[in-house]
Symmetry: C3
Subunit: 154 residues, 3 copies
């Protein structure tokens, strides 16, 4: 068991196998010393705990929890291509898409669900640049989608 | 004629010159061993075959075809800066923005139009990480916009 | 005073300290020979000059000015992590998110506010690939959010 796996255990986080992509792409891809994930939905056992727009059918606290699930699924996708999350040297970038009612402006608090999870798991190596935006709709009606870029040791 | 040009010929795909950018930027840019394209619209001879929101004025099958056109225009943009598409070692990332009615959730099927084209052209080297999201509106009323990142041989 | 600082002075542009992030992330991050900024809002002294959707409460010319402010804030974020903007070798990528009424399709003209600023400051080194999309809503009600990737000299 690696250091990050231990940390995930302390946080009671279990990484599932990555969900099969909903199209002709891969869950994560190694590109030199970076790993890029595809946009991750908050799937649990293949289905979404909640669907809809934040600020309408979904409240911001629920959405923050969904963003945390997206980040967990992104870690599972990364592990599936590099084997051991101890190889992650730095989380580099997070992009968070929040399915938003037109008057909802709390995207940063929602995507903090992903950012804080990365801090809990990786500490300083979890610090990242980030964009958070409110989109019109997301695949399967998901309230949140998160993509991650990390740098890895060779 | 290179291998990829032959393949494009087999698929009856002709790459036009990249459309002049709609602003103070370039269609594609070489950054070390990567090429990044600007967001590509499904322009044919300078105009959009269809406009509007998917799930409203535009149906998903039309939009998928538009995503394919975006990918073809992205390849033209890449070729314009590296000369020969045989230099593409790996497609790395696709981001697909789908102009979406608020209740349209089929973004993955739409962006498969781009992903599948990349698979047809490049085979395994066409595999990529991907995000697909539903946005409120796109330039010129386009139903789809796609950006591509590829890694090239030096 | 460096060359770029001189140029900013000629343009009467003052870079403020970067705004504290609205979440668990950093304003900009050095990743090898690249710097990635977080999505920048058009904050002036910590508040937004205008809020709302472009094509509704905000007109395109105001929004273009806001995009320029986003780019200025992005330069401040980059300077905060590399010290001297003369180290910027090339602006590589701009992503511009425009909070858009569903029928607003002028995102390129809005994001030109950022692209043209980069050209004024960096000349040819300011050329970049770009995506501009219309989103449903942005943090704090901002009309525009812009993220930047630049390559730096070591």
């Amino acid at each position: 068991m690696g250091r990050i796996e231990d940390r995930l255990g302390e946080l009671s986080i279990t990484l599932a196998d990555p969900a099969p992509p909903a199209g002709a792409y891969v869950p994560a891809l190694v590109d030199g010393d970076h790993v890029l994930t595809s946009g991750q939905l908050p799937l649990v056992d293949g289905s979404l705990p909640v669907t809809g727009h934040v600020g309408a059918e979904v409240d911001p606290e629920q959405a923050k929890e969904m963003a945390r699930l997206c980040a967990i699924n992104a870690l599972a996708a990364i592990r599936s291509v590099i084997g051991d999350l101890d190889r992650v040297e730095q989380v580099v970038k997070v992009v968070g898409f929040v399915s938003s009612a037109p008057d909802f402006t709390g995207q940063p608090e929602v995507i903090n669900g992903a950012s804080e999870l990365l801090g809990e798991v990786f500490g300083e190596a979890g610090e990242h640049a980030r964009s958070a935006v409110g989109v019109a709709a997301l695949p399967l009606g998901a309230p949140v989608e998160v993509e991650l870029t990390v740098r890895v040791r060779s």
